[in-house]
């Protein structure tokens, strides 16, 4: 094209190009006028204003005023309407932690994403982290301090609490501060101040998902109680004995990231870890394993002992006594662990010190310490002390304690002895809860001194030794809440304490030493980054001094295999239940069971005889442990070890709010103390299936992928390495008379003319190998795109609205021709997770069938949906081969029917979370994944302002941003240097038309789902590689 000589200009100023204009040209928003211009009124101004006022009043009378639209009289600093601001902060919920970046719009946090600067969570998130932004707008939050359930002023509450504290202190009575793990050093310093003021105070920490056994085992083995960092990325052999390390065990976000690295394969990295899992329930971690063996929970210790003995035999150490079990793959695992010593790791989920000592012994023999296990970088997520907590409950019951401050915790619900705690609270002289919600504990305490939500708070954290992070408020406190630290300081006698200043001073004292900049600059930098790292301390080495023989005899004494055995675990959605009132989590399908809004007991298909489980129709079952029993519906779970059952924690809330109350039963009381720590398993459980019918809400009711190779492609590592995979790769062929061999690639048989994408061609790669199924992306998508939540009944009607779902398929043991048999999952199936979203087909079947052209193709490869044009015939959804289109069956916003399940669209508080860049869809229209078109648009506009092309990585979809392992890669396939182009090895089909939609992904692992129907998706999947000898169908 010839260069045009024409000049276009936006205004006279640009045409004149005066120095004044040039000076301000880079500012998108004009600076505020100087005060001189605004000052000085005269008669003419008065008349003008008068006239304007009259006109405005008469105009305003003509139209109904816009409801609650309040313009800024003075523009707040750093806040431009419609421009988002981002603040680095930290997500903390009990001992769970993630370094995050909070996106705010007009002062409202609307999204959290991982902070890549963090050395701990490295930009990763989890479903709970992604969902936590809605907890800020939870309608059941405490809105003001309360005394004896009545609204009170902070001054009155402080006066009364101080009076009571002094009364107790005067009598020498005991005071306790009970909390979950506290990661914040400044909060700990505040607690120390409180203890200094009231010396009878003790601080008790406990964790709902306790790992105290491990802490004690390390104390015994190495002299220091701690939980080390595990670096799975360095491991070639990973053996996990019932540790769900990708979901609830240890530093799970970090684990997911390092595990993902070890599972990654590419042309240049043709090796991956091999993962053995020995477990009873089908956990998320077990679903990712190469070899998964079923054991009973009582055998975890025995398996550890046997593994110890097998390795000790090779290492020349003394074996210990233990019963011989016949566990599949155990000997093989031992062989490989020993062969890969130095790059092997064994983890165990048991909270029993004895089991963990044995595992420490194994890791010691394997030389894991310093390589795959980093004892010098202990993580602080689980500091709870089960024994101290048990002692606290005993003391409380015995009347030895006069005052308790429940610091942001809810032991009445989430401690096994919660009922006793609840009973004893009313006898206390002083009981205070500082949690941001009342919950089961708060409703029993006489004082409620609500803390801010974490997104409203200042705080600091030390998630790992040497790694620190800050949290800063992203919004002014919505309610009359006060930082719990300030409450403690006030009660310690400080006048008007400011916790922000406390943190800032602490950081000056702790970290400022040796910095070359001034403190404000240092502080600003820390705040900007959200994290601060002191020098890394390396892997470290330890010398093992654990008593494996004592541990082995403790195991033999404590565990007997008997009857039905129970596993109590945290599932991938509500976890420990602290965020159960978050509907984003309730409606998030559990990665394994795909159940939503329901509690259940997982039972192996053989044990659930008599339950067809067709369409999730099942029966209730009663589980009795000792004198405690719960009744929950049976969920038939392939892969569950026969004779075992699994019950997730986090349900049975009674005071969480309208979302969670009444769902399921509380499983915490079933947890018992074994060998000095909480044991999340039980033997000889009474398990009775009743005759009461129930239907569980599940988003996926068909378990297998029916051996359909165009849906899921798998290979083994050996085939991938020797290249035979490429040769045998499934490539659909169409019979035709044209070609010589009468076979043709479906892609060449087309009536379509192809689109030319002259600028961008957005595409995505999804690596099935590194996707762990964690579902953080699903929640991220929901929050980013204002996806409606529809509640249990509508999920049973199969109408959930998720734009992105994770299909979970089990393998079947039937042959590929046996269609009936293929419908049944194998007894111990292999699992594959497949994120499924709109494939943005280049030959989109939905686009041709819409009678009103409401869904069309963009010039950048997007399949776009014009909600305003949609008339809701649903033909597009019917004709979508991937079934990713979602229809608004009802009005999901401003509709009382959905008020409790979808507060983000039905309550004034909840609506603050909505993303203003995305339309809330009305009744009767179709919707689906847009590839986060609002983010693409923003990236393009930013680039345009700077007169450059959009840089790779500048535009990231919410799902890709949320993916801890980087399994989802999004980018421009027209840019040969983009990450997605390089990963997929994108090659335009025709050299002369480089920007045509027809692009071939030359990565041998890349495939399109349903390639033979030639819809030409812009999403490519990378074949799953299993590191095992043979792949099942």
């Amino acid at each position: 094209m010839k260069d045009s000589k024409k000049i276009y200009w936006k205004g006279i100023e640009q045409l004149a190009n005066s120095p004044e204009f040039v000076k301000h040209a880079h500012n998108e928003f004009a600076p505020a006028p100087t005060p001189e211009e605004a000052s000085g009124h005269n008669r003419r101004d008065f008349l003008k204003m008068m006239g304007f006022g009259m006109a405005a009043v008469s105009l305003a009378a003509c139209e109904a005023p816009i409801r609650k639209a309040i313009p800024y009289v003075n523009k707040p600093m750093d806040l431009d309407p419609s421009i988002a601001n981002y603040y680095a902060s930290s997500y903390v919920n009990g001992g769970d932690y993630a370094s995050i970046v909070v996106k705010t719009r007009e002062g409202r946090p609307i999204k959290v994403e991982g902070n890549a600067l963090s050395k701990v969570t490295r930009g990763g998130t989890s479903a709970q982290v992604e969902a936590s932004v809605l907890s800020l707008y939870d309608n059941s939050r405490s809105r003001y301090p309360k005394i004896d359930k009545k609204r009170a002023a902070w001054e009155d509450l402080d006066a009364q609490v101080i009076a009571k504290l002094n009364e107790i202190a005067g009598k020498g009575g005991q005071i306790r501060i009970v909390s979950n793990t506290i990661l914040s050093p400044s909060t700990k310093s505040v607690i120390q101040k409180f203890i200094a003021k009231y010396p009878t105070t003790q601080h008790v920490q406990y964790d709902a998902g306790s790992q105290y056994g491990m802490w004690k085992a390390n104390e015994e083995s190495f002299g220091t109680g701690m939980i080390p960092t595990y670096d799975f990325s360095k491991a070639k052999t990973i053996v996990s004995i019932a540790a769900d390390f990708l979901n609830s065990w240890g530093s799970s976000i970090e684990n997911t990231i390092t595990y993902g690295k070890s599972r990654e394969v590419s042309e240049s990295k043709k090796d991956m870890s091999r993962h053995y899992q020995f477990e009873s329930i089908m956990s998320i971690t077990g679903a990712n394993a190469d070899y998964r063996s079923q054991i009973k929970p009582s055998q975890e210790g025995a398996v550890a002992i046997q593994l110890y003995n097998l390795i000790a035999a090779k290492a020349g150490r003394a074996t210990v006594s233990g019963s011989e079990l016949n566990v599949h793959h155990l000997a093989k695992a031992a062989e490989e662990l020993w062969a890969n010593r130095g790059s092997a790791v064994v983890v165990a989920g048991s909270n029993d010190k004895a089991v963990q000592v044995i595992v420490n012994g194994i890791n010691d023999m394997l030389g894991s310490y310093g390589t795959t296990i980093l004892p010098n970088q202990p993580v602080n997520f689980r500091q709870g002390n089960d024994e101290a907590m048990a002692q606290f409950v005993t003391d409380l019951g015995g009347g030895k304690i006069a005052g308790v401050i429940f610091y942001n915790c809810n032991p009445v619900y989430d401690h096994p002895m919660g009922a006793q705690i609840g009973e004893a609270i009313k006898n206390l002289t002083l009981s205070v809860s500082t949690s941001y919600k009342e919950e089961e504990t708060g409703v029993l305490t006489s004082f409620i001194a609500p803390d801010h939500h974490y997104l409203e708070s200042w705080n600091d954290f030390e998630p790992k030794r040497g790694s620190y992070s800050l949290s800063q408020p992203a919004i002014t406190p919505i309610f009359r809440t006060r930082a719990a630290q300030e409450s403690l300081l006030t009660w310690s006698g400080e006048k008007n304490p400011d916790y922000f200043e406390v943190v800032k001073e602490n950081w000056r004292n702790w970290f400022f030493k040796g910095q070359t900049m001034d403190y404000q600059t240092f502080w600003d930098k820390c705040l900007y980054d959200g994290v601060f790292d002191t020098d890394a301390t390396g892997g470290g080495s330890v010398s093992f001094a654990g008593n494996v023989n004592a541990a082995a005899s403790a195991i033999a004494a404590n565990y007997k295999t008997a009857g039905v055995e129970l596993v109590i675990y945290q599932n991938g959605t509500v976890g420990d239940g602290s965020q159960a009132n978050n509907p984003l989590l309730q409606e998030l399908p559990d990665p394994i069971t795909k159940a939503v809004w329901d509690h259940y007991v997982t039972v192996s298909p053989k044990d659930a005889a008599g339950i067809s489980f067709e369409e999730s129709k099942t029966k209730l079952a009663t589980i009795t442990v000792g004198n405690k029993s719960i009744t929950v519906p049976v969920l038939v779970q392939p892969g569950q070890a026969q004779g075992t059952i699994g019950v997730p924690l986090g349900y049975g809330r009674t005071e969480a709010g309208k979302v969670a109350n009444g769902i399921g039963a509380n499983a915490y009381p079933l947890v018992a103390m074994v060998n000095g720590s909480l044991s999340f398993g039980a033997s000889d459980v009474k398990f009775e299936i009743t005759e009461n019918n129930y239907q569980i809400a599940q988003t996926q009711t068909h378990e297998t992928y029916m051996g359909r190779e165009t849906v899921v492609q798998e290979t083994t590592l050996a085939e991938f390495q020797d290249g035979s995979y490429v040769k045998d790769k499934y490539a659909p062929q169409i019979n035709t008379w044209k070609q010589e061999d009468h076979k043709a690639d479906p892609e060449v048989m087309t009536m379509w003319k192809n689109h030319d994408y002259n600028i961008h061609h957005w595409g995505m790669a999804i690596d099935l190998n590194t996707c762990t199924g964690c579902a953080a992306c699903v929640v991220a998508c929901n929050v980013e795109n204002n996806v409606s939540l529809v509640g249990r009944d509508e999920v049973i009607n199969r109408r959930e609205m998720h734009w992105l779902r994770i299909d979970r398929y089990y393998s079947s043991s039937a042959s590929v021709d046996d269609w009936k048999g293929l419908e049944e999952a194998a007894e111990n199936p292999e699992v594959v997770f497949q994120p499924m979203l709109c494939q943005h087909c280049n030959n989109a079947p939905c686009e041709t069938v819409c009678p009103v052209a409401a869904t069309t193709h963009s010039t950048e490869g997007l399949n776009q949906m014009a909600y305003n044009r949609c008339i809701g015939t649903r033909y597009c959804a019917n004709n979508c081969p991937y079934k990713v289109r979602r229809f608004n069956w009802f009005k999901y916003h401003d509709n009382k029917q959905f008020q409790d399940v979808n507060p983000a669209m039905n309550t004034d508080l909840g609506k603050m979370v909505l993303n203003p860049d995305v339309t809330v869809r009305s009744r009767g229209v179709m919707e689906k994944c847009s590839f986060c078109v609002q983010r693409i648009q923003l990236g393009k506009l930013n680039a345009k302002k700077e007169r450059r092309r959009v840089a790779d990585g500048e535009v990231v979809t919410a799902c890709a941003a949320a993916c801890s392992t980087g399994a989802i890669v999004f980018g421009d396939m027209n840019d040969p240097e983009s990450k997605v182009s390089k990963l997929l090895q994108i090659k335009p089909l025709y050299d002369e038309r480089k920007t045509v939609n027809d692009k071939e992904a030359m990565n041998p692992r890349a495939y399109s789902v349903l390639e033979e129907i030639n819809v030409r998706p812009n999403i490519f999947y990378l074949t799953k590689v299993r590191n095992k000898e043979e792949a099942k169908a």
């Binding site: 297998t704 041709t848 349903l1010």
Partner: protein, 471 residues
């Protein structure tokens, strides 16, 4: 060599004279409604009222009151739509194609069949409207109307848009054809009203007949227009259901994406249409005592058409099964395996029994000539044809490509209610038609009456004296 063809049986029995024809048919219009008419009308109105409530609730709350879901986006709605459109086909076939082929036996049944067509198409049309998420916009956005949204236009690629044109054309032509045929008969009723001194009726029917004069030139034009409209309607018999079938055939869903659909749908439509005509006419014939006009000979001929079209449909089913195996396409194969063996197998086998096996009974002359058997089988065929559409739509959708999305469909009371609404409407309309309009085309029937205007004594039920002997 001289060939002597056998003499045809008279199409109208009972030695009816031209006067008898006028009298027998007009008296339904002129007299007070019978008790059975009132009962039938009352039942129809109750059903209509209940259905109307369900329809209003649907429009108020949203399409979610139906049992549809993320995977099965159409079920009863489009099943009913296709079923009703199919039923309409018999009317057009009888009036257009049989007219062109000069099948004079059609003359005593075409009026009712055409009325049935009109009402069936209206019933059918309610479903595409009701199933829309946003009816208030969709009802006019589907038409390529000029608008102020720039170049925003309907999508001419979409089979749904083709449907809009196909159905609206079909409806318009059928309505005109039907009404035109009524004009001379309205004039007859008018003339009789004048004689009887019923002034109001005379005015109304005069208006309805557009002041028909009965002149030779008028008749000539009338017949020309009838032929032209028949010519126009003939392709519509084939095109409408062909286009309806393309809603499915042009999609990518296994079980839908099938080139056999156009002929298979047309045959099925005629099959079900004739069954419905039979159902209605057997009732009308008995209620209005029209046995001499709609004779067993008519019934037999229609039953033969049912055998033919039923067999075409049967072959189509078997061909589908064969191709699903022969193509070796996994999805196609599974779609049909699932129909035969899956959770909706009961629907598939209902369809097979009703549509393939039951019409074969008509090979037996005794059954073919039996009023009761014909009536029962005509209903069985329509049940079967409803299941055919249900099987095609629901069993194809509920388990398609991606197994994670496989679901079941369960109808709600509103799915049933909307279906009842169309039944209520159809029978209300048909009863009104039967009462106020001549149910048999008097003008045409008079042309096939084998008698003069003089009645031969004692000839009822016997061959007319001096006439042709019966075989």
């Amino acid at each position: 060599m001289q060939v002597t063809s056998s003499v045809r049986e008279p199409l109208i029995t009972g030695g009816k004279t031209v006067k008898d024809v006028s009298h027998d048919i007009s008296r339904q219009v002129e007299g007070a409604p019978t008790k059975s008419w009132w009962i039938a009308m009352a039942i129809s109105l109750v059903v209509l009222a209940y259905g109307f409530y369900c329809l209003c609730y649907l429009l108020w709350e949203g399409v979610g009151v139906w049992g549809l879901n993320k995977t099965v986006g159409w079920a009863w709605d489009i099943t009913n739509f296709v079923w009703w459109v199919g039923i309409g086909h018999a009317g057009t076939l009888i009036s257009a194609i049989l007219l062109l082929f000069r099948q004079r036996w059609r003359m005593s049944i075409n009026r009712a069949a055409e009325a049935m067509t009109i009402f069936a198409v209206i019933c059918a049309a309610t479903f595409p409207f009701a199933h829309m998420g946003r009816l208030w916009l969709g009802f006019y956005w589907v038409f390529p109307l000029p608008n102020t949204w720039g170049s925003l236009w309907a999508n001419f690629n979409s089979p749904l848009l083709w449907d809009v044109f196909a159905i609206s054309t079909y409806f318009t032509v059928s309505l005109v054809f039907w009404y035109m045929g009524l004009i001379p008969d309205f004039a007859t009723i008018r003339d009789r009203a004048i004689v009887q001194g019923a002034k109001a009726r005379a005015v109304v029917y005069n208006a309805l007949s557009f002041g028909w004069s009965g002149g030779a030139r008028t008749w000539s034009r009338y017949e020309s227009v009838a032929l032209i409209l028949a010519g126009l309607s003939t392709p519509l018999v084939l095109s409408v259901h062909t286009i309806v079938s393309m809603d499915f055939a042009t999609s990518v869903i296994p079980g839908w994406h099938t080139t056999i659909f156009p002929p298979y749908f047309v045959a099925g439509a005629i099959f079900s249409g004739f069954a419905m005509v039979l159902t209605l006419l057997l009732i009308t014939r008995s209620v209005f005592k029209l046995e001499d006009y709609i004779t067993i000979y008519h019934i037999e001929l229609m039953n033969i058409i049912i055998i033919v079209t039923g067999s075409i449909v049967g072959i189509a089913y078997i061909t589908e099964l064969f191709i699903s195996w022969y193509s070796q396409v996994e999805y196609e194969g599974y779609a049909f395996y699932n129909r035969v063996q899956g959770p909706y197998a009961w629907a598939y086998w209902s369809m097979m029994t009703c549509n393939v096996i039951s019409p074969q009974l008509f090979w037996i002359k005794k059954i073919r000539m039996s009023i009761v058997a014909t009536f029962v089988l005509s209903i069985v065929v329509n049940i079967g044809m409803w299941f055919e559409r249900f099987v095609i739509i629901v069993t194809s959708l509920h388990r398609d490509y991606i197994p994670s999305s496989w679901t079941m469909f369960h109808p709600t009371m509103y799915d049933i209610g909307e279906y009842l609404f169309t039944f209520g409407f159809f029978f209300t309309a048909f009863l009104l038609f039967a009462k106020f309009f001549p149910v048999i085309n008097m003008a045409e029937v008079k042309s096939i009456v084998k008698a003069t205007s003089e009645r031969t004594e004692g000839a009822v039920g016997q061959p007319v004296e001096g006439g042709l002997p019966r075989h």
